[in-house]
Symmetry: C2
DNA sequence: CCAAAAAAATAAGGTAGATTAATAAAGTTG
DNA sequence: CAACTTTATTAATCTACCTTATTTTTTTGG
């Protein structure tokens, strides 16, 4: 089996049990696709037609406000699903952009194919329920932490939890994700470094 | 059929199609329960053992930080599911409290009963997937709005979207939900009222 | 390997929202 | 309805974080 497809099948098998037959049946519904750095998987205003699983690479999901400021909602890395779920489920124009931060390989499943898959292997409903439940729980904690913690605490917690993201995306994007300006993040980093020395 | 159960069945039927048999089979798995104002459906430190659907009443889900400050994560009203999903799925101690703000009637389904239900009617996996997807999409927008909008804008948007909650819970809880202090919310309201007059 | 662009750092001045503390209003209960 | 508790207002002071502007460093690509 193609190693990218295998990666997804393994991801599924870690959460539910697929028979050999089911695994084989799923494969033809999958669509492998490569994006270059900077390219968009979903653009604001377009309708999101696919569920997207990241095989390799790194993406960001962001929102442009009235003043043209970017607000990063989420990063996506290897082995994560990423989408504008609202656009995908209601087939309405996306409010978020999903852009590749490096060359990125993904597996996509169109909405029609997804419905076929759910009939073929209803267990997949559970798989996606578990995935989104996890994402929801993380979002809830993030809401709370945004209120309960200072920017410095949130930054330290972020680089602790996602060191690979922290090291490989520009700082101004981390600032945007944390909800602070790049200038303020820069000054926090200065503080943190001088704290570490003394 | 008991009218509370009917309320839940209708809620399900609005998203998936249940046969008459399936509806009848679901009923015995449901557990009707009443709480008084102030009582806890889930307490921090306890394990959440049930999925909980609000038939009537109003609840809040909140987190206590190190300094003992309350941070409201969500409100729950009629026809909403509410839970500490992380605690429920992993059967670990809850980080959030879920407390009734008025006398509240709920339908609960224990984890074991839920597994039986999923075998009985696998469609329910889809129902819960749809429910949580919606909640996730709302959370994402809330994260963005917390960054893109001022406290005043968030407050106005909140009372516009949830007038029934805004009118029936104390202001200091709305402040907590919005991530601001009650004093600052009070001053925002003063501004808003004088804006309206001039 | 150099020029241009993108990202990061620095610094001064400004503001949204926090903190503290005191008072007033509204709800609750015996 | 009086005493008490909870909730809301007001106001002064304070600070975490923003804005704007300039400079330095790093990355990119021809």
């Amino acid at each position: 089996m193609n190693s990218s497809f295998l990666k997804l099948i393994n991801h599924i098998n870690r959460r539910i049990i697929l028979t050999e037959d089911e695994q084989q049946a799923i494969i033809p519904h999958l669509n492998l696709r490569s994006y270059l750095k900077g390219q968009y998987i979903v653009q604001e205003g377009d309708v999101s037609r696919n569920e997207t699983f990241i095989v390799s690479g790194k993406v960001r999901s962001f929102y442009l406000d009235d003043k043209g400021n970017e607000h990063i909602v989420a990063f996506g890395i290897e082995d994560w699903w990423i989408n504008d779920i609202c656009s995908y489920t209601t087939q309405t124009p996306a409010e978020f952009n999903i852009q590749c931060l490096e060359p990125t390989e993904v597996i996509q499943i169109s909405r029609d194919k997804m419905e076929e898959l759910f009939i073929l292997a209803p267990k997949l409903e559970r798989y996606f329920r578990l995935i989104i439940q996890k994402a929801y729980a993380n979002m809830s904690k993030r809401i709370v932490n945004n209120h309960a913690q200072s920017a410095k605490e949130r930054y330290l917690s972020f680089i602790g939890t996602y060191p690979d993201i922290a090291n490989r995306v520009p700082q101004y994007m981390i600032a945007s994700y944390l909800g602070i300006t790049k200038e303020f993040l820069s000054s926090l980093r200065k503080q943190i470094h001088s704290d570490a020395k003394s």
